[in-house]
Amino acid sequence: MPAERTAAIAAPKAPPGPFASFFRDFSENRAALVGLILLGLLVFIAIFANLLAPYSPIEQFREFTRIPPAWVEGGNRAFLLGTDEIGRDMLSRLIFGARLSLFIGLSVVVASMAVGIVLGLVAAFAPGWPSIVIMRAMDVILSVPSLLLAIVIVAIIGPSLTNTIVAITVVYLPYYVRLVRASALQEKTRDYVTAARVGGAGTLRIMFRTVLPNCMAPIIVQAALTISNAILEAAALGFLGLGAQPPSPEWGAMLASAREFLQSAPWIVTEPGLAILITVLAINLVGDGLRDALDPKMRRS
């Protein structure tokens, strides 16, 4: 009994775990919380698109072209958000489009983060020519406007979904490389790294096991912000006809193909536009929240 009592008394006094404290900081930011809920919803929709979408995104209901959303006059309850210019259900297309957009965003982030971490650590730990080659290459990439570079890459390797991902990954690579290198250089000189080295750890182990975990916070924030930019850029490429090819329900491509109906059937244009807006907004809010919560300088004690 005494032991139990001690525990009960001790518990509130114990410092909260790192995750709990992070979440406390994070949820103090109302906007970030809203963003997180929206994002969660989007992820849920994307994962269960097959179950949630009423129809296939490429099925054409040729009797029902350009039906307005259900609540507008002339709408049809079978098509909640209306149909597009060749009779495909907008709701289904938007739902599958969410999957496509989040997939692009996530793939770009994972790919550019993985490659960026490796290159960044190499640049930090091999100060000779490898560092020079890597960093100057990144400078070259950075010197070209990002969308332009993506367009050039896609134009060379041909328009498709995979190539879009490759192109945007290349565009975002330098940010990770520079970020990782900068924080790794800083961490490298710390005492704990020296201690590890004295303890006999090899360079690889120091790079990935000792230094990397301590550089993760800014990388995670950068990742969150990249997702939204990647989605925007994929939409821009899709709009220009260089992204996912028809008939895939990519939001940017949907916007582009419906431009001519801007005046006569505005929902075909506004709905994918809103979808992009909401997604990007949600991700940015979460990203801001992450930054506030993870950045020690901004953390309230």
């Binding site: 054409q60 040729r62 072209t65 028809p246 001519e260 005046q263 006569s264």
Partner: protein, 529 residues
Amino acid sequence: MKIFARLLAATMLVAGVASAAEAKTLVYCSEGSPENFNPQINTTGTSFDAARPVFNQLVEFEPGTTKIRPGLAESWDVSPDGMEVTFHLRKGVKFHSSKTFKPTRDFNADDVLFSFNRMWKEDSPYHKVSGGAYDYFNDMEMPTLLKSIDKLDDYTVKFTLNKPNAPFLANLGMDFATILSAEYADAMLKAGKPEMVDQQPIGTGPFTFVAYQKDAVIRYKAFPDFWGPKAKIDDLVFAITKDPTARWAKLQKNECQVMIGPNPADLDAMGKDPNVNLLSQPGLNIAYLAFNTTKPPFDKKEVRQALTMAIDQPTIIKDVYGGAGQAAKNFIPPTIWSYNDKIEPYKYDPAKAKEMLKAAGVQEGFESDLWWMPVTRPYNPNAKRVAELMQADFEKVGIKTHLVSFEWGEYRKRMQAGEHQMGQLGWSGDNGDPDNFFFLLGCEAARPGGQNIAKWCNKDFEDLFQKAKTTFDLAERAKMYEQMQVIAHEEAPVFNIAHSVVYEPIRKNVTNYKVSPLGRREFAEVGLE
């Protein structure tokens, strides 16, 4: 942001030009950038439109009709056997001048000889300039048709033919038969910049070329010494605006007064706008899907017939053309004489199509490409949407298609080279003669690089085609063309999608603008109030 800034700058430039309208300026919202300014080496309406204000031909089409009237030739005689055509040239016709060139003489027979020899004779110093491909000249079979072109005196030129050719005069009114300045060409050759002839055009037309900025603007000004009636406007501007919705927005704001290729979806609003006249004319055109008959399984006519049956044509007409098109069953539009109305179109029947494909040995899940052009054409407002509809149709009969497109110039080049399996293209007639449509299915144009993109060469069809060319009796010719339509229907080298009705919205203050049945934009006689 930079792109936006540039767009803004371009828009302001065009707007600035439009607002300086005290000197009467007509702005035409065109759909794309011309490849160059020499119609001899071009094949697109976009490029022809851009060169037309600057040039003339020996004979020309009366605006708004397909009738021939004298151009640079005042009159002509045809010999009784139809083998010789003698042109009497107009005197006192001045060429334009530019910063680099001042003409020292008037137009004469040398210019005619130079212009035709450039396309015809390999020993012409200009034959290889700017790529040296004269698609129109070759596809109209001019090299085999022409025996000689002789200068009888400075103002008389005689064309001798190898065989009588009924459409010959109408062909000379087409853009490829444009007359360039021989003196200018010599000067540029001496200066070592022969391709300037195709980039900085010097002609005899109602407007002189001023400046061109790719994807932005082309500027012309009226030529005071023009031989015909003087232009009623002072400046002519082509504001290159690729997006049809943007063109319509500009027209509404009076940033341009004439536009090409409206969206079918906007036609309603255009008809209601009090400041806009919506002109229309049944188009002398055809949009089609060509099957590349050199690639299996498209070499089998059963396969081509089955694919034709698999396409839901009424839906394409409804969803892509809106009210602005009629389903096509023949390769020529019904407004052309010799249209064979007895042809029964293939019925939409996916089940039967699937059976036929199976019988022809096409596996379920066969993969093909399906090309769509990246630009609005007068005969096809949205090729991408047509492709998406066809993709779903083909899916139903077990054929997987991926959609392919390239930049417009590249697109045609690759397709003429025969890289595609199935691809869309179309045609706007140039002279109102059935010959001008059927050559697209002829053997001559089926060569690699030729304009027959089905690459289809059928002996019966070709024989009739050649015979009709040398027949002057209209009724007899019509019979042959009718027979050719029966063959083309049976063989199905192309799927005939539609003939569009051409709409051209213009501002109410534009006078004397006529929609050309030949799909041209002509500004020589247009005025502005």
